[in-house]
Symmetry: C2
Subunit: 336 residues, 2 copies
DNA sequence: ATGAAAGCGCTAACAT
DNA sequence: ATGTTAGCGCTTTCAT
């Protein structure tokens, strides 16, 4: 690796001049510019970001901590973040906390040590974050899940609304015994989706049946287990609303194992759209989250914070969309 | 952010002593250790990796460039890499080239500037890499896809073997008109999977029918289109072998649109296992790649390279596994 | 328009 | 066992 010194030597100028030319700051004659640039080329010189970062006391790094990299929802979020980072010449350090709050804390520490310019965090830990890590020093944008610390910018999806619409859709189709496969109590998205489920029932004057409301842990296997429980009830629900993509997969598995037909025997709506939802037989009706947009928004907001602009704390809720496919019965059928 | 200087001041020692204690190098008395540690705690001091990196001329960063972050195969690879990085106190910079070789080159440059300790690369560009970037200076491990540069460590899956087994499975079940939905010509995995398809035919003495062999671009939509073409042939194939997960999704979509039944009307084997394969109706028979292990292997090998151990270049092929589910007909049926 | 020099926060060789 | 010092590669202020 050649250094700025060698370039300067070769071009017969000082390092200061090389720096100015490469950063387009200050003044210089076009003749020296030419000499320097050709020296850079000849040596294959790449400036060391490490040295630069030390000098200017900031990096071009965005830290992104998510809770499950295998979940397509987050995968899209990542793409969104990366897109805007890329455009603004930032790189992304991605860490997968794996729903493990110890790992999350550890990664947060790493990012501080690495002096990242900002952090985007889908937390596993709703409260109890180390104040040092999550405030003041480095801008943080929380995504998907709320975080208790005050003054943190947050970008969420309107889960209540999404769930309400999904369940209302089922009710309008004539279902009044709708099973709920919810998520973890301590994660805000789970609570909100359950709230939406309840709200739809209230609106349509249907009373809640606790036997039909169960909670899993957002993983595939728990979706399977709970669907099994619900669908083997003596008086089984005629529809299922499932709080995330992976549990939906598990539930589908259970339905097929039991030899039940969708939508004839049981209608299904899942939270989260997925690339394969349309390839299922029948295609799955889902609440599609604006995942990619979520990532983009978060990236853009963070960049603004890094630039110290736009300073009052924001909490933004994006609107999910019910995508109606055939897993609740086709429209024609529902009309007839 | 407090610095090592402030810690030293507070503890009444020199910065060198603080450094020694924090890194556990050299000698120091336990009494000073205590004083220093408590000073560190009080100040909430976190050493700056940026400064450290500049000084020691290396970072604790592993660069990971993959070609499609939305593909579950890579998602698992990432987890594998992260796992071993985490264990060895390295962080991962993840970049998504999005099958765009320009982006790939750019990220490669960023990583050099960032002075990463090593790079793991699933390339989009089989040949023609900038020699400077891909050799000598920083260790590189290529994964999934081969790369033309000489002397690059490579970890691959035995695609020929996997494809051969999959197609042989279909042939043994009585299929002799098997459609191929292949991948991009210039990607090694695509060529190898096609080779496996051909090899199985040769072994069983079945001649190849060019009309049944088509190539897509590894994306969902192309799987759909090609499946449509193949399945609307006047003499349509009785089975489909599809060269990756996303195209398989597209093909399923096509099959359902045409109202065909799996496996009665058409049997299906896809390359790549997926979390949802088991939840499909019927569950999908697939060639499962050891994706997570691939990531782990790559991480471990790279770490060895970084430590300068074990120096002869390696090319490792991991063995994929045919996972038989019901999309080719159940075993019972095939016997009867 | 350009150069000289200081210094970002840390580590390591050398001195004590 | 601990301190002193130099310097990693860069940017930036202050001269000229």
């Amino acid at each position: 690796m050649s250094t700025i010194k060698e370039v300067a030597l070769k071009a017969g100028v000082s390092t200061a001049t090389v720096s100015r030319i490469l950063n387009g700051k200050g003044t210089f004659s076009s003749s020296t510019e030419e000499r320097v640039l050709s020296a850079v080329k000849e040596l294959g010189y790449k400036p060391s970001r490490v040295a630069r970062n030390l000098r200017v006391q900031r990096t071009q790094l965005i830290g992104l901590i998510i809770s499950d990299i295998q979940n397509p929802f987050f995968t899209s979020v990542i793409r969104g973040v990366e897109e805007v980072a890329y455009q603004h010449d930032y790189s992304v350090i991605l860490c997968n906390s794996d729903e493990d709050s110890i790992k999350e804390q550890m990664y947060l520490t790493v990012m501080h040590e690495e002096n990242v310019a900002g952090i985007i965090l889908a937390t596993t830990l709703e409260r109890g974050h180390d104040e040092k890590l999550i405030c003041c020093e480095i801008p943080v944008v929380a995504i998907d899940r709320t975080i208790d610390n005050i003054g943190i910018d947050t970008i969420l999806v309107d889960n209540i609304l999404g769930a309400r619409e999904a369940v209302a859709h089922l009710i309008k189709l004539g279902h009044n015994r709708i099973g709920l496969i919810g998520g973890l109590e301590h994660v805000s998205t789970a609570r909100e989706r359950q709230l939406g489920y309840e709200r739809a029932h209230h609106e349509f004057g249907i009373s809640l049946d606790q036997d039909l409301m169960k909670s899993g842990n957002f993983k595939q296997i728990s979706g399977y287990k709970i669907a099994m429980e619900l669908l083997t009830l003596r008086d089984r629900p005629s529809a299922l609303f499932i709080a995330n993509n992976l549990m939906t997969l598990g539930a589908l598995n259970a339905i097929h194992s039991l030899g039940l037909n969708i939508p004839r025997d049981v209608a299904v709506v899942g939270f989260d759209d997925m690339p394969w939802a349309i390839s299922l037989n029948p295609p799955l009706t889902v609440v599609a989250q604006p995942d990619y947009e979520l990532g983009k928004f978060a990236g853009e907001l963070l960049l603004k914070r890094i630039a110290d602009q736009d300073l009052e704390t924001k909490q933004i809720r994006l609107i999910p969309k019910l995508v109606i496919r055939e897993s609740c019965g086709s429209k024609l059928k529902s009309i007839s």
